[in-house]
Symmetry: C2
Subunit: 342 residues, 2 copies
C-alpha cells in the first residue's frame, strides 16, 4: 500500500484539478493505494462531493480510498518560500509534507508555490549528505526523446562538485522514474572538447570521467535540442540552475510561438496543431521529484490540469515503488570522499 | 567612398557565394563604394568571370568597382584560431583585415572560421580600452522584434564589469546598425527581482542602474522569447558567453524542428512553411560586427548564401557610415574609471 498526499489547495486550478487528478490516478494505481487530500475541509469536501456527483459519478467507488486531511492555511503563489515553513505551519503544503516525517504518508505532490515547496521539503526532510541544496529536474522534449535537465533553477553559481552531484541525481531519476538503463549523461558546455567551458564545467568534466556514470562528455545547445550527441542519445543534461532556468523558460515560451506561426502559415488553427504535438504536452510528464531531499516531494506546474496531476501522482508512486531516495543516497555516497573509485 | 574587403575564400559556399554577394551588394551600395575581393586570384578571377558571364550577366557594369586583392593562403574551418594570425600570414582573412591597418580599406566581412576571425581581428585592430576580449553579438528572432544578444560565445565566466561593457556595446550596435533609438537593455537572469541571479549578474544589475543606459532590469528566458518584459520592448539582452552560446545553438536547432512538426501536423511540407517565416531567416541579418575591436570586422555564418553576404556587406557599410567604432569608444569611456556619472 502506497499513501500519496496531494496538496488539494495548490495550483491555478485548485481544488478541482487536484481532486479530479486524484480520482483519475486512483483508477491507475494499485487497488490498495490511497490518496490523502490535504486542504481546508470546507473547500475540499464540497468540491469532492460535486465532482463525484457530476463529471466523475462513475468513480464513486474510489471515494473510500481517499482520506481528507484537514489543513487550515494555504500557501499562496505570491508568498515567500519561508511562509510554508514558519509563517503558515498549518498550510496544506506543510501538513502534507510532515505526514512523511511521522511515517503517515509515502509521498507528497503539489502544484502550488514551487519555492515554498522546495524550502519546506528541505527543512522537513533534510538533504542527503554532501548536498547544499536540492535540485529541480525538468523534462525537455527534444527531437529524439525527452531529456532530463538539471538543475532547472534552484542553484546558481554551481561548483564543479555540485554539477557532478546533479549528474548522479539525474542518473537515478532516469533509471527509477523513466525506466531507462545506464542513462547517457551530457555536461552542457560551449564546445565538445573537454577544455571548452567555464572553470566549473571544465573541472566537472574531469571529475565525471571517473564518476562511474555513462558520461557522454560535453554537449552543446544544438545537441540538447537534437536529444543526442556524437557519443549517443542524451538522457540527462547537467547544467547550473542559471543556464537551466533561462533555457527552460525560453523554450516554454518560444515553442508555442514557433508552432503558432508555422500553423498559421499552413492555414491551420494553432491550437489544433499544438494539440497534436504529444511530445510538447507538459501534462504527459505531470511533475518532477525534488531531488536530493530525504523524502518524496513531487513538484507540478502551477497550471497543472487534472491529467497532469494524475501523472504527477503516478510519478510519486514510481518514486516510492523504486525506493528512489535510498537509491539516491547510495549513488551520492559513491562520490563522497573516501568512496572507492568507480 | 567606402571600401569593403570581403573574404572570397571564407564560408561553405566560397568563392561563389561571397562573389555573388559582392555583386548583389554593389547594386545596393552608393555609386562610388568599392568591394575588395580577397583571395587566391586563380580561384577568384575565374569564378567572378563565370558569374558575370552567366547568372550575373546583367551586373557586368559593376566589375569596375571590384578590386581583386591576392592572398595565397586560406584559413580552413578546422584551423586553430592562431592559424589566421601566425600560421597563415598571407591568408585571405589576415590580408583582408590588415588592409584596414594600413588605411587601404574601411571594413572586412568573412563567412570563414569565426574563431580565427576573432583572434586575428583582436591582434590586428586591438581592443578598445577597458576590454579584455571582443564580444559576439547575435540577432535572435523573437515573438516581437529581433533582439541583439551578447555575448554569444566569446567570453565565459564573465565579471559584472564585462557584462556592463556588453550592455554598452549592444547599445551602440542597436543604435548604429539597427537604427533604433535609446535601445531597451535587459540583463538575462533567473527572476526579475534585482536580488535574483548569479553573483556577477546581481552586481551587474546594480552597476547598470547608474550606467546612463535605457536599462529595463533583469529579463528572464520567457521575456527574451517574447521580445519584451514588464518594463518594455527588449532591444539588447546581456548575458555571459556561456549562456548566450548554449541558448543560441539550442534555438538554431529546435526552431526548425518545431516548425517541421507543426508543418507536418498541418499536412504541409516543412520547407514550404519555413520559407514563409521571414523573421527566422538568418540571411536577412547577414552578419554581426565583432564588437570591441578598433576596426570593422563582420562575422557571417559559415553557411551564408549570396543574399546573406550581401546583407553582411550592408552591415559593414552601415558600421562605417555611422562611425560605429568611434561611437563605441566614446560609450565605453563613459563607463571608465574617472568618467562622470551618467
Amino acid at each position: 500500500m502506497t499513501r500519496i498526499a496531494l496538496d488539494a489547495m495548490g495550483g491555478d486550478h485548485a481544488p478541482n484539478a487536484p481532486i479530479a487528478g486524484a480520482l483519475l490516478a486512483l483508477g491507475a494505481l494499485e487497488a490498495d493505494d490511497r490518496i490523502q487530500l490535504v486542504g481546508r475541509p470546507d473547500v475540499v469536501e464540497p468540491a469532492l462531493g460535486a465532482l463525484l456527483a457530476g463529471e466523475y459519478a462513475g468513480a464513486a467507488h474510489l471515494r473510500e480510498r481517499i482520506d481528507v486531511i484537514p489543513a487550515t492555511e494555504v500557501v499562496e503563489m505570491s508568498d515567500k518560500p519561508t511562509a510554508a515553513v514558519r509563517g503558515k505551519p498549518n498550510s496544506s503544503m506543510a501538513i502534507g509534507l510532515r505526514l512523511q516525517t511521522t511515517g503517515d504518508s509515502d509521498a507528497f505532490v503539489s502544484a502550488g508555490n514551487t519555492g515554498a515547496q522546495m524550502a519546506a521539503s528541505t527543512v522537513f526532510f533534510r538533504l542527503h549528505a554532501d548536498l547544499t541544496r536540492p535540485a529541480i529536474a525538468t523534462i525537455l522534449p527534444t527531437a529524439r526523446q525527452p531529456v532530463v535537465m538539471l538543475d532547472a533553477g534552484a542553484n546558481v553559481d554551481c561548483s564543479a562538485h555540485e554539477l557532478v552531484q546533479f549528474a548522479r541525481l539525474g542518473d537515478v531519476y532516469v533509471e527509477d522514474i523513466l525506466g531507462r538503463h545506464s542513462p547517457g549523461i551530457g555536461l552542457l558546455s560551449v564546445g565538445e572538447e573537454p577544455e571548452k567551458g567555464s572553470v566549473a564545467v571544465k573541472s566537472a568534466h574531469q571529475a565525471l570521467l571517473g564518476a562511474g556514470l555513462n558520461f557522454l562528455g560535453n554537449v552543446e545547445g544544438n545537441d540538447l535540442a537534437r536529444g543526442e550527441c556524437a557519443a549517443g542519445p542524451i538522457d540527462v543534461v547537467v547544467c547550473d540552475g542559471f543556464v537551466g532556468n533561462v533555457l527552460l523558460k525560453f523554450y516554454e515560451t518560444i515553442a508555442p510561438y514557433l508552432v503558432g506561426i508555422a500553423a498559421r502559415a499552413s492555414g491551420k488553427d494553432p491550437s489544433e496543431v499544438f494539440g497534436s504535438l504529444k511530445e510538447m504536452d507538459y501534462a504527459n510528464y505531470g511533475g518532477a521529484p525534488l531531488l536530493g531531499v530525504r523524502g518524496v516531494s513531487i513538484i507540478s506546474h502551477g497550471r497543472s490540469s487534472a491529467k497532469a496531476l494524475k501523472n504527477a501522482i503516478l510519478v510519486a508512486k514510481r518514486a516510492v515503488a523504486t525506493d528512489m531516495n535510498a537509491h539516491i543516497g547510495r549513488r551520492l555516497a559513491d562520490g563522497a570522499p573516501g568512496a572507492g573509485a568507480a
